[in-house]
């Protein structure tokens, strides 16, 4: 029997606002516990929330980038449940009037295009973080009140691989839109995974389970592979799937039951009386739409047209916004944008992956790369020297012209000197000269190599070749 899989994701994306959603506290990661807190985000008696307008803006930008309908009227609601990491024991969220409805994300799977539907995007506040010690527990409220956007998909995803592609594509769009840092290690993107399977002969969806609080894409992938298999096995052996919440145990590589549906909360939603509804007029939405950043697809086309790059190269560069931004910055300062791309596609990506670094970690500035290309194009340095300089720039940064000068790496283009060295190479290697004259043209390469060696690799190879030919052929 074949089974069909339906997966829907609820992705929580932390917005990159400077301050929290309802107070002025900072949102930075890694501060000592309970240092980014105030009476408002601690839920002290008498305090009131005040909406951070940037959070609204970023959520709308995300909606526009995903093709959602932006609600001209939306509101906030209280979602009630008790938990020690919830300062007010209700979360300010959006129930029936979210900021954004609908939309989609395009993914590519096995070379085929597929569209994953977005149901809605709403805005809510994050909660604190509990830590358990022996015999007691502590709560850090630094994270409480940081704005989160919840993006809910349709159950359009049909495999673990598709889920992975969706998350990668979504992250790319969020980064392009600059609405989130999307830093997974800092918990900027977390998701709940809903999954069901059914025999292919059945049209209605099977009973779903929900895997809560996944914070890595790899984890989502692994948990889904397990969960799909678990559900299929259960159906095969005639068992019922229970509607339940499960937890992924990455060490054991299995999902574990947390609670079944019957004991789930009644959240008792009602409109938040402390906040006014969000009314967005169409002028405001259009203003924000006009400011939208270019998405990867459009940028790729433009790179091909504007910089004359092959489509493949443009595709690689735009995959990562940081890489594409770096490229553009360097290309703008260079007369040879194709050469910039060549350096980034080869040396830069190789060194980054070899050393496990991100673009942001390296000292080399885009203008340094442009400078390096200029030195090569003007024949100031030859290509092997250029690679050496690139290595220095990558590790230490700096001005390539200065490095070339300081280390005496400029190409030897002095024809008197080279003439002398060519003569010496001919004298020192009579057999090669003989080989050449007897028709073994490759012998010339050996002689060029000898001259290069004498100049410690700095000679202009083209000039050496010309001088040799003149002498040997003449």
């Amino acid at each position: 029997m074949n089974y069909l899989v339906s997966i829907g994701l609820e992705v929580h994306v932390q917005l990159r606002t400077v301050s929290k959603m309802f107070c002025g506290c900072a949102t930075g990661f890694g501060a000592p516990p309970n240092t980014h807190v105030c009476p408002v985000c601690l839920g002290y008696p008498g305090t009131l929330p005040v909406m951070n307008q940037d959070a609204i803006h970023y959520t709308v930008v995300a909606g526009l980038l995903l093709g959602s309908n932006i609600s001209d009227y939306s509101k906030f609601d209280r979602k009630s449940y008790f938990y020690p990491d919830m300062p007010k024991n209700y979360q300010i969220s959006q129930y029936d009037r979210p900021l954004c409805d609908g939309g989609s994300v395009d993914i590519e799977i096995d070379g085929l295009q597929k569209q994953i539907g977005i149901t809605r995007i709403h805005l809510e506040e994050d909660v604190g973080k509990s830590t358990h010690f022996s015999g007691k527990s502590g709560v850090d409220f630094n994270r409480a009140g940081i704005p989160l956007m919840e993006i809910v998909t349709e159950p359009d995803i049909t495999s673990a691989d598709e889920a992975m592609s969706f998350l990668v594509a979504l992250k790319q769009i969020m980064l392009y839109g600059e609405v989130s840092g999307c830093n997974l290690e800092e918990g900027n993107m977390r998701c709940d995974v809903n999954c069901s399977v059914r025999p292919e002969t059945q049209s209605r969806l099977g009973t779903k389970t929900e895997i809560k609080n996944m914070n890595t894409f790899k984890g989502v992938h692994a948990a889904l592979l397990y969960e799909i298999d678990r559900q299929v096995q259960a159906l095969e052996s005639g068992e019922q799937i229970l509607q339940e919440t499960r937890r992924w145990d990455p060490d054991a590589g299995i999902t574990i039951q947390m609670r079944v549906k019957e004991s789930e909360h009644d959240y008792r939603y009602f409109p938040e009386p402390d906040l006014m509804p969000v009314v967005l007029d169409s002028d405001k939405i259009e203003e924000w739409r006009a400011q939208l950043p270019e998405l990867p697809r459009e940028r790729r086309t433009r790179f091909v047209e504007q910089y004359g790059l092959p489509d493949y190269d443009a595709g690689i560069l735009v995959e990562d916004k940081a890489l594409a931004d770096y490229y553009e910055e360097a290309a703008k300062q260079s007369a040879n944008p194709k050469a910039i791309s060549n350096w980034m596609m080869t040396e830069m990506l190789r060194l980054l992956s070899e050393r496990g670094l991100e673009l942001g970690d390296i000292a080399m500035k885009p203008e340094s790369l442009a400078g390096l290309v200029k030195l090569t194009d003007s024949n100031t340095i030859n290509s092997s020297t250029a690679r050496e300089v690139f290595g220095i720039l990558f590790a230490e940064g700096g001005d390539p012209a200065h490095i070339v000068k300081e280390k005496g790496l400029a190409q030897v283009g002095d024809s008197d000197l080279l003439d002398k060295l060519v003569k010496q190479a001919i004298l020192d290697n009579p057999r090669s000269v003989e080989d050449y004259r007897s028709g073994k043209k490759a012998a010339a390469q050996f002689l060029v190599g000898q001259v290069m060696r004498l100049t410690k690799g700095k000679a202009n190879p083209k000039l050496v070749q010309d001088l040799l030919r003149t002498k040997l052929d003449g």
């Binding site: 002290y44 008696p45 008498g46 305090t47 009131l48 929330p49 909406m51 009630s80 009386p273 402390d274």
Partner: protein, 484 residues
């Protein structure tokens, strides 16, 4: 000099201080003596910090010596225990907030502080402002200064008793369903509930967020106007506060009511109201007519539904607002608990009183899945109808005249076992909160038992000047007729 502090109103105190005939320190000192002498029988205050008040008073005297002319410089005020004052306790008359010290000033406190006010103490109330008699305080029952075995009303019963009993020049209260106007009426002082959004709620411990307002409780209408002028205005920290200029309320007051049209809602003059109350209010209406107002009978057809609507919406909001009292971050935490659920259960069982528990349970019920639409949603629809009733009559009327309560103050313990009867006493006050309009309670008579009776003046949203004008002119006329 000998200060007759028990008869001193705010206006007179300002004049004394401005004229230099007494210092703020002397004034506060006299007040503290009065509280010491009187409060053991009234129990209007939960706490009084004499040293801190005298220090604030001396600072005010120094500021005056260096030329400050802040409008309330050196004036002592009493604050209902539900409003946060930095460094003071804010127990909301509940055991669950034991040990809590507020880390911040409510916006109104900040404004009054900037205007020079001195904060003397915290007044008793029904726990979390839930009640109409101040019998629901975890820290003792406040008594009515006009008759010691009667309730002062509630929930701002401590503030009303302090003002009426000469233990405060003026006080702050909060009004969610009548909690300023009803105790003012029971004790015989003036109480003003501003329009929803006129005064910032930031720092007012929330009972029902869409209904709560802070307001002044004073000896005279003029004093209420003077305090409101300082308290009102937009606050960025309260999204429900309106960004609209604050009129100079004191300068809107006059001696007559010529050109004003006042409505009498027929639903507020019905059988079931105590005849002495009915007579006193009708006499007050007659007085207003003599002052030049045109009196018209009008109708607010949805009045009958107001109490039910109120107790659904208020308890629903309260059930969420009071969820934060869980023992995790501040206040009382039960000992010997085994897990968070156990901690919540025991902390809240020990910390909350019976009325608060009743309302949390009621509010939780009306929001529960399966009941939400039948109760909460329906109540919101009726609330809209009640608001529209008022909007319609205010197209024609400048203000409405009604009783504040169906009866004068009742005896302590008389209704404590019958919450429903107690709730029905709010019938004339809750509609104003549901509609978001403003309301004033002004003394208009005394029953044969010597208990005060209040006249309620209701005005359109953000037209506090209308009700202050009516209340002031009436108050002057009544004083003249008593003297004359």
């Amino acid at each position: 000099m000998s200060l007759e502090i028990e008869n001193l109103d705010l206006q007179a105190a300002v004049e004394l201080l401005e004229g230099g005939s007494c210092s703020s320190e002397e004034l506060v000192h006299a007040l503290l003596s009065r509280i010491t002498a009187r409060d053991s029988s009234l129990c209007a205050y939960l706490s009084v910090d004499g040293d801190a008040s005298l220090r604030q008073a001396r600072d005010a005297d120094k500021a005056r010596a260096s030329g400050s002319t802040a409008p309330l410089l050196g004036i002592p005020l009493a604050v209902k225990d539900v409003i946060n004052v930095s460094g003071d306790s804010c127990h909301c008359a509940s055991k669950i907030l034991e040990g809590y010290v507020s880390p911040y000033d409510a916006t109104v406190i900040g404004r009054l502080r900037d205007a020079g006010a001195v904060f003397v103490g915290r007044t008793n109330m029904d726990e979390f402002a839930m009640g109409s008699s101040t019998e629901n305080s975890a820290f003792g029952v406040t008594r009515n200064p006009c008759s010691i075995d009667h309730v002062p009303g509630g929930s701002s019963g401590g503030s009303a008793a302090a003002v009426a009993g000469g233990e405060a020049v003026a006080a702050l209260g909060s009004d969610t369903g009548g909690s300023i106007r009803q105790p003012a009426s029971f004790c015989g002082c003036v109480g003003l509930k501003p329009s929803y959004g006129r005064v910032s709620r930031y720092g007012l411990t929330a009972f029902a967020s869409s209904l709560d307002q802070i307001g002044p409780m004073t000896r005279t209408v003029r004093d209420a106007a003077a305090l409101l002028e300082v308290m009102a205005g937009h606050d960025e920290r309260d999204s429900s506060s309106i960004n609209m200029a604050v009129p100079g309320y004191s300068s809107c007051l006059g001696e007559d009511l010529r050109g004003m049209k006042l409505g009498l809602p027929k639903e507020y003059f019905v059988a079931g109201t105590d005849s002495e109350v009915d007579n006193a209010v009708r006499a007050a209406v007659e007085e207003c007519s003599k002052l030049g107002a045109e009196i018209v009978e009008i109708s607010l057809p949805h009045t009958d539904y107001a109490v039910a609507t109120y107790y659904i919406i208020a308890t629903a909001e309260a059930s969420a607002n009071l969820a934060r009292f869980d023992g995790v971050r501040y206040g009382h935490r039960a000992e010997g608990v085994i897990n968070p659920i156990d901690m919540y259960g025991k902390t809240r069982a020990q910390g909350f009183g019976a009325e608060v528990k009743r309302r949390i349970i009621l509010g939780t019920y009306v929001l529960s899945s399966g009941y939400h639409d039948a109760y909460y949603l329906r109540a919101q629809k009726v609330r809209t109808l009640i608001r529209q009733d008022f909007e319609k009559v205010f197209e024609d009327c400048d203000a409405l005249l009604t009783p504040v309560t169906p009866t004068p103050a009742y005896r302590i313990g008389e209704k404590v076992d019958d919450p429903l009867r107690m709730y029905l006493g709010d019938v004339f006050t809750v509609p104003a909160n549901l509609a978001g309009i403003c309301g004033l309670s002004v003394p208009c008579g005394v029953s044969s038992d010597g208990l005060p009776i209040g006249l309620q003046v209701l005005g359109p949203a953000f037209k506090e000047e209308n009700i202050l004008r009516v209340g002031h002119a009436y108050e002057l006329a009544r004083a003249n007729s008593k003297n004359g």
